[in-house]
Symmetry: D3
Amino acid sequence: MRIDGREYNQIRPVTITMDYIKHAEGSVLIEMGDTKVICTATVEEKVPPFMRGQGCGWVTAEYSMLPRATETRNARESSRGKISGRTQEIQRLIGRALRSVVDLEALGERTIWLDCDVIQADGGTRTASITGAYVAMVSAMDKLVEKQLIPKLPVTDFLAAVSVGIVEEKVHLDLCYVEDSQAKVDMNIVMTGKGKYVEVQGTGEESPFSPEELQELLAYGKKGVTDLIAVQKEVLGELGNRIGGRDEETVENA
Amino acid sequence: MRIDGREYNQIRPVTITMDYIKHAEGSVLIEMGDTKVICTATVEEKVPPFMRGQGCGWVTAEYSMLPRATETRNARESSRGKISGRTQEIQRLIGRALRSVVDLEALGERTIWLDCDVIQADGGTRTASITGAYVAMVSAMDKLVEKQLIPKLPVTDFLAAVSVGIVEEKVHLDLCYVEDSQAKVDMNIVMTGKGKYVEVQGTGEESPFSPEELQELLAYGKKGVTDLIAVQKEVLGELGNRIGGRDEETVENA
Amino acid sequence: MRIDGREYNQIRPVTITMDYIKHAEGSVLIEMGDTKVICTATVEEKVPPFMRGQGCGWVTAEYSMLPRATETRNARESSRGKISGRTQEIQRLIGRALRSVVDLEALGERTIWLDCDVIQADGGTRTASITGAYVAMVSAMDKLVEKQLIPKLPVTDFLAAVSVGIVEEKVHLDLCYVEDSQAKVDMNIVMTGKGKYVEVQGTGEESPFSPEELQELLAYGKKGVTDLIAVQKEVLGELGNRIGGRDEETVENA
Amino acid sequence: MRIDGREYNQIRPVTITMDYIKHAEGSVLIEMGDTKVICTATVEEKVPPFMRGQGCGWVTAEYSMLPRATETRNARESSRGKISGRTQEIQRLIGRALRSVVDLEALGERTIWLDCDVIQADGGTRTASITGAYVAMVSAMDKLVEKQLIPKLPVTDFLAAVSVGIVEEKVHLDLCYVEDSQAKVDMNIVMTGKGKYVEVQGTGEESPFSPEELQELLAYGKKGVTDLIAVQKEVLGELGNRIGGRDEETVENA
Amino acid sequence: MRIDGREYNQIRPVTITMDYIKHAEGSVLIEMGDTKVICTATVEEKVPPFMRGQGCGWVTAEYSMLPRATETRNARESSRGKISGRTQEIQRLIGRALRSVVDLEALGERTIWLDCDVIQADGGTRTASITGAYVAMVSAMDKLVEKQLIPKLPVTDFLAAVSVGIVEEKVHLDLCYVEDSQAKVDMNIVMTGKGKYVEVQGTGEESPFSPEELQELLAYGKKGVTDLIAVQKEVLGELGNRIGGRDEETVENA
Amino acid sequence: MRIDGREYNQIRPVTITMDYIKHAEGSVLIEMGDTKVICTATVEEKVPPFMRGQGCGWVTAEYSMLPRATETRNARESSRGKISGRTQEIQRLIGRALRSVVDLEALGERTIWLDCDVIQADGGTRTASITGAYVAMVSAMDKLVEKQLIPKLPVTDFLAAVSVGIVEEKVHLDLCYVEDSQAKVDMNIVMTGKGKYVEVQGTGEESPFSPEELQELLAYGKKGVTDLIAVQKEVLGELGNRIGGRDEETVENA
């Protein structure tokens, strides 16, 4: 049995509260168990220098933790004067993942900034950030549709992310912090609503893993993403029906 | 009439939610109208180098805004690689203000870190941070008493802060963002429960102010602090009774 | 009696030497007792990005101390790679104070840089910087009038600053370093020639102060500013007669 | 056919020159096609602060490119004053990968620094760095054995890395730069001599990939790692025989 | 006798390998004894801001060492976040030296970047960088001639550099690291093919040197530069014949 | 004739005012024509890490210019967040030069910090800094003798520095800014009282110089240093008699 009584292939209770921050074009508070992340989406009417003049938009992300989101206090990256390698890896991952389901040409020359700020951490903050930022992004893009700046949502599919790992020789889905700190193998999986992989990142630093274990990790990940996308659909309601791949074959009935 | 229907000498609705972040020794979410700040208090069992070996504790603060706490997105200070002058001024102010009501010797050689993170801004973020951080600090110190690390709360008095200003020739208490952006004079007042000044910071950059205006600003400030300390007392409950100056003459009946 | 034999409401001997640095458009060496600050004013024919295209000028300040201006050597901020919170607070204060008496529209789209470099420190360096920078600024603006770039001095009033504080229960005017280091309350007051407040910044970190003490501090501050403006008038001579408020009610005969 | 005439599941010609830099305890020049990386291993007789007093060693890596390793010149990270997210990701990956086959306890409280400097880049620089750094590390550890500081090589297995990707709907092994820039899916695989995964990092930013494609990518990766470990064995000669898993089941005959 | 058996006025064996890095417009590997430097020349079709619009080109240099180029590992300047004073001095020297033999007007508004990366150090890295970068630069400029962007090589003379020093009271030419670390006087000399001085930098920190010693140092330096230019001519072949001063009086027959 | 009427081999009027800054152990204002530098010497009772435990002292220098020391305002290095290559070169030069005449062993494990702050610049600021810092250093060391921390001045010789250059084909001694900006060759010479070279740094970036020109530059430099040491002796008075080499052969009567 897991420490919080869950099944090995069960995710934690998930809540996504939309329009959490009044100023942002899109915003959610996502809670996955005790992990809580504020995700805001900001629309900026220009693109970064390397994208200019190509008629395409851009989606980028920033990730941070409040100093006391964790068990012990972490010094702020602004005080230390530089962003850690871990933070950079995570924000690059979030941006890449979200871009995979956006039709950047349809978005037009504008940038969507996704800010994921962890206010309380209990494992899986990067995957919760992706799952929450997706909803905030769709919500902000809907504002663009409402203002008739773009004709329809430039989103091709649903997208969610989850962690899987091996703790004491058993594959676990959606690890909380205590499980994560004991895991020998740690993997993050980002998938679309149609069941395609966007990112597969598995690390067996302390203990390399076998091909069989890899297959089991992938299966658990698919289960978790499917459950999370169900929550996204509920929260997005009608908005979800306007997402690219909705009418086509999707992960849950694949 | 003010834009939100308040009297000129009336503060906005205030809510202080205690124990908002599970990992921190003390934490609150303070909401003053639409301004929302998460304040956490962390106990560290050492003091900064310049305080070592003196048998005294230290209280210090850090302040930050989420990028989208404001109407338009602000770049993170961690991305820009340095902390702005405004942020530094604010965190120095918060630390100084809180130390004024702490018996540092009684605290012992430990540091209380106060992290004030604005998740939504609508004027008065620095004063809300002080008012909220005070409650988080008292709560964290109570943990030290519970663990018998110190015999009693090393806090000498209540403490709260409020902004006042002159908008269109009229003094206003507790300015929201729209008022603040039109104010010709801007003042922050930090006072103790016994009605003493800890900080008086008034600026008339666009329009110097007369001695008579200064007196009226001070009077409004006292009204605001008194109202805020009443809220703190309610939230702290029994804990408030153990604060230094409770039984003596306090601001509301001075 | 004070350590240097002054009355409690008496400022130190003040000398302002004009045209101290040959390259600058305006420059002074201001000496207030043993505090010595070189203030230069530089005219730059453009404004910072956030001011462009508005037809208005800008006044900004930078403040620094030579490493050995103080009793013990301070590491240079250039070597440490960042500007301290204290320095930022001071340079923001100086800039704000000076702008309060400048008609930025009449100045036109140009910037006045005020550099205040403390070569020897004995308390009151930020207030001496304001008092000295005012003279350097007026002198630089006079060059613009001479070159017929602007029709008249865009200065609306005189401006000076002084410190006051409470040492051993007594209010003191213009504290030297030894007094300052023993002060329980520390206040800086910036006032105009017409007796209006531009900045009031009082801090009672070690000991909050009563409303009565606040009033006495304000009275001493007014006395000090009046005396300093008298020195500025003497040094500026005919130039002083061309400053905005000269013919109207001024502080000394209010 | 591929642009350089290779089969889809064929790696480029590989050369590993040992003892390339005279001062380093271990060093190689690894050439994979036109990608050339100098890998040095330095032994430092202490561990980083977070590892002290645990009786364990540490392995860490740094990665850099000469400015003109690439088609167009890249500004140095030392000139820009910070390390890019990409560089940080890569050096974290290299360190993690190498640690997975080191018995840190047997290494003792010392650090192996692996410096991977790309002098010419043509795709696959991070995987070439891992494959080359492995040989440099083993060589440096052998010096410790020679000096009798440790009784035997604290290395549990062989280790190599290779890139795979999907270009124009076909899976390719060991992509050169031109192929890499056209790839829709990009994956790096790090495996041990016994055929276990240490890292699996696949990204389908421009085009999510199906479960079937994932399986094919994994199979090509295994082929590439097996070929590279054969080269490492040849280069290491007798030294290779003393590596942990040599006598047990290894990848090539799994 | 010297530790490597050389005469006091003899340089170490020198090898210059042209076209060492395939992407660069010009590149060499220069080996002077055990000192090995990769020098690349990059052509950029613009000049730095301070040179724009003057119709002139620019030549600038960057210098770095791989961490393990030296006996003990040096932390990377990118990790430390700033470039050391030593590095800055060296790259300024290299840039200045190279510009002295370039007709910047004839070069046109473009920049030649010279990157000198020391892969193995054994004394004299800055002088080897100058000698090698000269060849890389000429080679890159020849590409511009080939593309008919400029009519002829905009190079007025040959240029090389060498170190001289006083070790145990004797003047030595081209010091290796062991000699350099024992030298009381250290001098770098940069000269043109026509025997003119471009840089003379002598330092007697531990022991000031007499006018007579200075003359002997200068004579040895001339000998060394003459020998190095002979190597450059051999390597450049026909290209060398097209350099400005070739037909006129040159250093070897002065 | 030179623009200020001097002979080609004549230095500008020099004034050295001792004890210019009250807090420093040694301090001077040196004026060479319109170049004015405040030099302070600070004694610190420890040495930098790389010198610890060797029983030797250290002498180090920092150099800076006030922003408006020059014709146009220079941004502060503290604002730009890094020290320029030029500044680093100069402060390394000053430190090296001063150390050449100090018996570091006799100084004991303490550091002398020399701060050279240019308040007005008109050419030759680095050489004026050396000449002035020498006097400040001797003055600070005398305080150590007075306090009986060391038995005698640990200074082996006098030391001064001067610039020479070639302007319009003529060698000039001690160039002012206008001359310096027209010079084709620029050289700084640091010499001891006994006529030995400590530093010879000549640069002919725009025009390499002949061996004959080098000899003439050296002769002018010796003349300048001799004149400056005469001024130092006058200013130091009796203190000068206690400097190492005073009784031996000195430059002026060599």
